[in-house]
Symmetry: D2
Amino acid sequence: MIPYGGRVKAVERFLEAAVYGYIADKEEYLRRLRRIEGQLRGLQRMVEEERYCIDILTQVTAATKALHAVALGLLEGHIGSCVADAVAAGGPEGRDKVKEAADAIGRLLQA
Amino acid sequence: MIPYGGRVKAVERFLEAAVYGYIADKEEYLRRLRRIEGQLRGLQRMVEEERYCIDILTQVTAATKALHAVALGLLEGHIGSCVADAVAAGGPEGRDKVKEAADAIGRLLQA
Amino acid sequence: MIPYGGRVKAVERFLEAAVYGYIADKEEYLRRLRRIEGQLRGLQRMVEEERYCIDILTQVTAATKALHAVALGLLEGHIGSCVADAVAAGGPEGRDKVKEAADAIGRLLQA
Amino acid sequence: MIPYGGRVKAVERFLEAAVYGYIADKEEYLRRLRRIEGQLRGLQRMVEEERYCIDILTQVTAATKALHAVALGLLEGHIGSCVADAVAAGGPEGRDKVKEAADAIGRLLQA
């Protein structure tokens, strides 16, 4: 039988695992996504007003940069929590989580 | 004094220059940008609902891909109209327009 | 029959078209590519010496950046010569050249 | 004084840490890097022979893609070994390793 301390530890791990890396900064992520949503509305205004192509492109690039920053933040949180926990727990799940994260980075590079 | 034919030509050029490459597809660009704006709202819902990091990342990647497609469309229109016209007209303005477009591509690559 | 001046013009265009945008800077491009080739040899040495992953990654990133700079230079030269000439000449070839360049940019973005 | 078991553990960790994620596939990485080095020599030949800009660009894109694949492999190995070990060991070093990996991904995205 697992001693009391061990069970508390196990429950703690379970609760931690349920809390993804980004949740602690949830409000910050929502704020950033709302800001990018605003950039998308600004882009629509620029197209409506028939603004110069390169000026629109510059804003598209700014929105892309902001999305990349969100992606990097999510990845950092994910690697530091879900992935690290899974690798520490040992077994094939750790390898799977690492592969899943690397695949996500690969898709982002090719977006 | 510029002869009549020359003035007609100049007015034509001015009107062409005022119509940027993307304007013919203005509604299509607005539709695409509205769709990406919707993806940004979807992302906020995912964060609110504390969805799995990798699922959120997948959506961030999809929005980035859609923004890149908009950027490529704008570039194609821009090169085929503003840049080509400026180069055809000769003089330093052509070189400047090519440089401006290349710089925009460079910033997009590094976004 | 095409008058003499027109034929000279046509021959000039042909010769220009045969000289791609990058040829004027051929030596500079060769120098840059040799340098990236050297970075690739340096990377092999780092792997042989079992250097730290992140240090190797930093060098891979530097080589990628240098390749992107070469690509941007080629694109700038290409748009300012082949593409602009084809658009100026009018007809469907201009549109094709613009499309070809935009596709190349798209592939580079997704590399 | 650290008990015997603790010291064995510490030595094991040190040895593990010395074996980076990519070492198991060292020959594969060397083979891939040699291949990209060959692509760089091929690019020099193309420039010497004054080949068409877009054909050269296509090869630059292929080399970039191959470098990205190497980078992703290195990252996957790194996250699954160095980063995961550091996070599992607890303390600030884990957070530092995650940050270091995220920064490397960020630099790669902006290359």
